[in-house]
């Protein structure tokens, strides 16, 4: 079992995504972008999802080495509203190698910051 956590300033992600709007799709999936854009506090949700992706990277370790992309880590919401990690592409392969069957995810955000905690189990 491994853990990963990250904190993101909402203003920073807002600046990044407004300055480089053409690169949003390199970090977030289409579903994530749609989800965040339909929310009133759009950038709080983007920040929380970015923190979740960084947390997964930390929990998996050496993800960069294996060519793990940001969009391989997708945050989806269950019908209950609870967020969870939906793995794609390289992340699926890394999970098999590291004997990880799933991730537990907790997100929290306010106007200024978003944090994520991930447990790889």
């Amino acid at each position: 079992m491994r853990i990963g956590t990250d904190i993101v300033a909402v203003s920073r992600i807002k600046k990044l995504l407004t300055t480089h709007s053409e690169s949003t799709g390199r970090i977030f999936t289409r579903n994530e972008i749609e989800y965040c854009r339909q929310k009133k506090n759009t950038y709080e949700h983007f920040a929380a999802r970015f923190a979740a992706k960084e947390s997964v990277m930390k929990a998996v370790g050496k993800g960069w080495l294996q060519g793990l992309n940001w969009t391989d880590i997708e945050v989806i919401n269950l019908p209950s509203g609870a967020p969870c990690i939906c793995p794609h592409g390289t992340l699926k392969r890394l999970m098999q190698q590291a004997h990880i069957s799933s991730f537990l995810l907790s997100l929290s955000h306010c106007k200024e910051y978003a944090i994520a905690m991930v447990i790889a189990q």
Partner: protein
């Protein structure tokens, strides 16, 4: 071929815009995190700015991948459980000559490599990518 000084000037401009620091602070030896106060998200901002400025694509984790790819080594020769072996540390020092060698040691965590980045690291990355992927192609 783009001259190193020209690359440095554009890298400096990108870092000044991304971090909101003074131009004088952006020297080749300044470290991004400790000296210039960058956070991990800022690295992404800098990379996107450099990609636009030079018309290139910078691969994520390129430096780390290079260490393993070097001389056809296997991952466990240079890395054990996410930390550099003695050989891995030696290869990283060779790959990042702009970094104080004492900061790269056996047991150094590969996830912490970005904390070693200096302004010159970005100049070197851009130079390497431009050599492999000439501008206009």
């Amino acid at each position: 071929m783009v001259e190193e000084q020209e690359i440095f000037e554009k890298v400096k401009e990108s870092i000044v815009e991304a971090l909101g620091v003074d131009e004088e602070e952006v020297t080749p030896t300044a470290t991004l995190f400790e000296d210039l106060g960058a956070e991990s998200l800022d690295l992404l901002d800098i990379v996107f700015r450099l990609e636009k400025a030079f018309g290139i694509k910078i691969p994520r984790g390129g430096i780390q991948q290079d260490i393993i790819a070097a001389e056809g080594m296997k991952e466990d020769e240079v890395l054990v459980d996410g930390a550099l072996t003695a050989l891995g540390a030696q290869k990283l020092r060779e790959r990042m000559p702009e970094v104080d060698a004492a900061r790269i040691y056996e047991g150094f965590r590969v996830d912490d490599i970005p904390t070693l980045f200096t302004v010159q690291t970005f100049v070197n990355i851009v130079k390497r990518v431009l050599e492999e992927q000439p501008r206009g192609h």
